[in-house]
């Protein structure tokens, strides 16, 4: 028999360890692929970049080509679409999205919209083994001279070649030399092109990269620019901010195009203008999880997880998932601490009601309802009814009582009374019935004690399930519930003392001297 016990204990421990491993893996997996976090309300920003193209069609066939952003691991696309009224066909290609319109008349408004999330800094430079060809700048002789002079001056600046040039051109007190090469108020795009030209003179391949800076609420008519220069020794592309000279692609810059190709081409249209706007929205990690799974190629796994359920069911499950922990608390309260409660799970149901009503309001209301119920039950006991009809009568009384409470609560704006609606009637009726029986059988003191203990347990459980962070964790990382399951089973073989027994049996180990004292007191009675 005892051998069997050892096997049970051993297998439960192994189970616990496996469940811990499973939970650990699950938690890592979800954090890594689905971006779930321990903290509640960690929202994912989702950026919407919208390009709005306006033009007048001048020929029968109109062709519009939008560049698509270059996805190189610095962000993920949530959604991408075009909106255009009229007879359009859309062709999506790797790098571009092409709209072909036919028989268009009025001024056209075409939108290209892309939603992206998880933007990150691209710290590392891009490796590319074949250096691109250097395009010699088309400078006239004068400009060429100025350029060469500039390059000489630039050597005094700090940083690598590109940074030296950028620093010189951005110098606050621009020298005449710089001014003549790059007049103030030049467009950023031209400035970038000039920098690329200067680098070409130094035999450094470089190009302009264009994209959109993610600034909430931004509206702009031009794309943002940066430059990219090739390091011949390292065979790597470095990205530079043309204002500060900083290297690296920042998280808030989305690259649409590299080199000189334009972001939007319109063929067959005239009087065209383009506008970029950026919007930021915050989404919960759970609503983003599906898209993340798609990007991580774990969609199949994901479709069978709780996070793919309709939101309503997810919310219901969020409640369910916290209960294993609450049950663990019940087990600890009963088997380790040794608190005697009315029914095993009655306190849990009371605490559920408390969540609905609010803590203090609920407690007061519950006490009043049970108090009045006990009084009614006392009156009922004089009628000598049979057990089942008597309990049923108490249930009906409780319902009527709750109705009265609700009406009073509404009329006089007593929120305490209104909360009565949320208590499970059957549970209240049972508490009343059990309470009154213990009262009759074992006296008021014992009945009051047991009710107080039940309420205490309910309060403890309340604080477990009302905590949003706990609910978040048990739902986001629901594999923890398996760990809880094994903990509960392990408590099933806990054969040690309960906390209350330490007090109960204390007289058995107290010193003899003390015993004598109490003996005397007992004798005087």
């Amino acid at each position: 028999m005892f051998k069997k016990l050892a096997i049970v204990r051993w297998s439960l421990f192994v189970g616990l360890i496996f469940s811990l491993l499973y939970a650990g893996f699950g938690i890592y997996y979800k954090q890594h692929f689905l971006n779930f976090t321990w903290e509640i309300d960690k929202k994912t920003p989702v950026w919407t970049i919208e390009a709005n193209l306006k033009f007048k069609p001048v020929s029968e066939n109109v062709e519009i080509v939008f560049s698509r952003p270059i996805v190189d691991g610095t962000f993920k696309i949530l959604d991408e679409n075009t909106i255009a009224k009229g007879n359009y066909t859309v062709q999506k290609k790797d790098r571009t999205i092409k709209l072909v319109g036919k028989n268009l008349k009025k001024t056209q408004n075409v939108y290209y919209r892309i939603l992206l999330y998880d933007t990150v800094d691209a710290k590392k430079a891009k490796k590319e083994n074949n250096p691109p060809k250097i395009v010699e700048p088309l400078f006239d002789d004068e400009t060429m001279m100025i350029a060469k002079e500039l390059l000489q001056v630039a050597k005094k600046e700090e940083g690598d070649n590109a940074q030296k040039i950028i620093a010189l051109l951005n110098n606050e007190e621009a020298t005449e030399l710089v001014q003549s090469f790059l007049p103030k108020r030049t467009k950023l795009k031209e400035k970038a092109e000039k920098i690329v030209d200067l680098l070409a003179l130094e035999n450094i391949p470089a190009r302009v990269i264009r994209g959109v800076h993610l600034v909430e609420g931004k509206k702009s008519v031009t794309a943002d620019v940066m430059i990219e220069a090739y390091n011949l020794n390292e065979k790597k592309w470095y990205v530079y901010n043309i204002e500060t000279g900083k290297t690296g692609l920042p998280a808030d810059f989305i690259v649409f195009q590299k080199g000189n190709a334009s972001l939007v081409d319109v063929i067959g249209g005239g009087d065209s203008s383009i506008k970029y706007s950026v919007l930021k929205s915050l989404n919960s990690s759970f609503s983003m999880a599906k898209h993340r799974s798609k990007n991580a190629d774990i969609e199949n796994f994901f479709s069978y997880s709780v996070y793919n359920l309709p939101l309503e069911q997810q919310n219901a499950l969020k409640w369910l998932m916290v209960f294993p922990l609450a049950i663990l608390v019940v087990v600890i309260l009963r088997n380790v601490i040794g608190i005697k409660t009315m029914g095993t799970f009655t306190p849990m149901l009371i605490s559920m009601a408390l969540v609905e009503t609010g803590f203090l309001k609920g407690l007061i209301c519950f006490s009043i309802v049970v108090g009045v119920g006990l009084f009614i039950r006392m009156c009922l006991s004089r009628l000598n009814l049979l057990l089942v009809p008597r309990i049923s009568a108490v249930v009906v009384f409780v319902i009527l009582l709750i109705q009265i409470f609700a009406i009073l609560g509404y009329q006089f704006d007593w929120q305490v009374a209104s909360s009565a609606l949320f208590f499970p009637i059957i549970i209240i009726a049972w508490v009343i019935e059990r309470g009154s029986i213990i009262w009759e059988e074992e006296g008021f003191k014992n009945a009051f004690k047991e009710m107080l203990y039940s309420l205490f347990a309910a309060i403890v459980i309340y604080f477990v399930i009302v905590n949003e962070s706990i609910r978040h964790i048990t739902f986001a990382f629901n594999e923890l519930n398996v760990v809880i399951l094994f903990l509960i089973m392990l408590l099933g073989i806990y054969t040690g003392y309960r906390l209350t027994e330490l007090k109960r049996f204390a007289p058995l180990v107290k010193s003899k001297k003390k015993l004598k004292k109490t003996n005397k007191r007992g004798g005087n009675v």
């Binding site: 006296g443 003392y497 007090k503 007289p507 058995l508 007992g522 004798g523």
Partner: protein, 314 residues
């Protein structure tokens, strides 16, 4: 704060004293030695009575069993000719739902605590028993009506109303520990320790009092009658032990509690057996149970009840 902690004993001290706790009792004692299929033998008091008769244990005579609600109104006919009677739920536990009627007329019933109640109250009590108010799982129950034990005058001074009974815990057929439960004013004539009854630890070899407690605290005198509890001695102790020991033979339960009362004329009688006897008996004895159980583990097996009692009394 310090005083608060002084109320608690350290678990190591309790372990050293061999105090049996609830979890251990449930898991390692009851779980291992009391097979669940044997429970009905002791949980159903009608069955227990029948079994007891077959092995020659005296129990209070059965007057009748009320099984259905329509029979309740006729209970007076059933008890015709008996001076008093006791109503018990067949599946009750811990003395719940036991109503002792010492004397009665057509409409007045005098209970053990000398309260006079009416017919309707007795009627409702039986109804409650039938609807399962006092039964273990709350299922529908039967009401047993049996004779009142005319308890021996020897204990008159030791108990305030109520009937004092002896609880003996039997482990593997060997009587392990015993106590006597005495009703007090506070316990309302009941012998339940947690309601304030006095528990007197009884020496398993002699039947003499070892220690007495009320509300878990040691006392020396009965709080109501003032009797010196430590002079108490249970007469016919060997018969008590034999009844308890036979309880094992008749049920097969490795760990059981036998409740025995002393009848004025018939001597010791078994009231009921309990498959999950409580732990308070340790407090009444001021002694832990674990060491005793461990010792019994080494006792010879396959002895008859007489030999086992001889072994205990050796």
């Amino acid at each position: 704060m310090f005083k608060f902690f002084r109320m608690f004993a350290s678990p190591w001290a309790l372990k050293k004293a061999g105090v049996l706790n609830m979890n251990y009792r449930n898991f390692s004692i009851i779980g291992l030695h009391n097979s669940r299929r044997l429970y009905p033998l002791v949980d159903d008091k009608v069955k227990t009575k029948e079994l007891a008769t077959t092995v020659g244990i005296q129990t209070p005579r059965l007057i009748g069993v009320i099984k259905a609600q329509y029979e309740v109104k006729n209970f007076l006919q059933m008890v015709k000719g008996w001076k008093g009677f006791v109503i018990k739920p067949a599946h009750g536990s811990g003395g719940k739902g036991v109503l002792v009627i010492k004397h009665y007329t057509q409409n007045h019933f005098r209970t053990a605590s000398n309260k006079v109640i009416k017919f309707t109250e007795v009627y409702q009590h039986i109804s409650n028993v039938l609807s399962g108010l006092y039964s273990l799982g709350g299922q529908y129950d039967e009401a047993i009506i049996e004779e009142v034990v005319s308890f021996s005058d020897q204990f008159k001074d030791y108990s305030f109303q109520g009937i004092p009974d002896v609880r003996i815990i039997v482990y593997k057929g060997y009587p392990a520990i015993a106590m006597m439960r005495l009703a007090t004013k506070e316990s309302g004539g009941r012998a339940n320790l947690h309601q304030g009854a006095v528990g007197v630890g009884i020496d398993i070899k002699t039947g003499k009092a070892l220690a007495a407690v009320q509300h878990n605290m040691p006392i020396s005198y009965h709080p109501d009658t003032g009797a010196d509890l430590l002079t108490l001695k249970v007469p016919d102790w060997r018969t008590h032990l034999e009844i308890a020991s036979k309880g094992y033979d008749m049920t097969g339960l490795g760990y059981l509690g036998a409740d025995i009362v002393m009848d004025k004329e018939l001597g010791p009688m078994m009231l009921e057996l309990n498959a999950r006897p409580g732990l308070a008996i340790q407090i009444a004895n001021q002694k832990g149970l674990v060491h005793i159980l461990k010792e019994i583990d080494s006792y010879p097996k396959n002895l008859s009840f007489k030999e086992r009692v001889d072994f205990i009394l050796r």
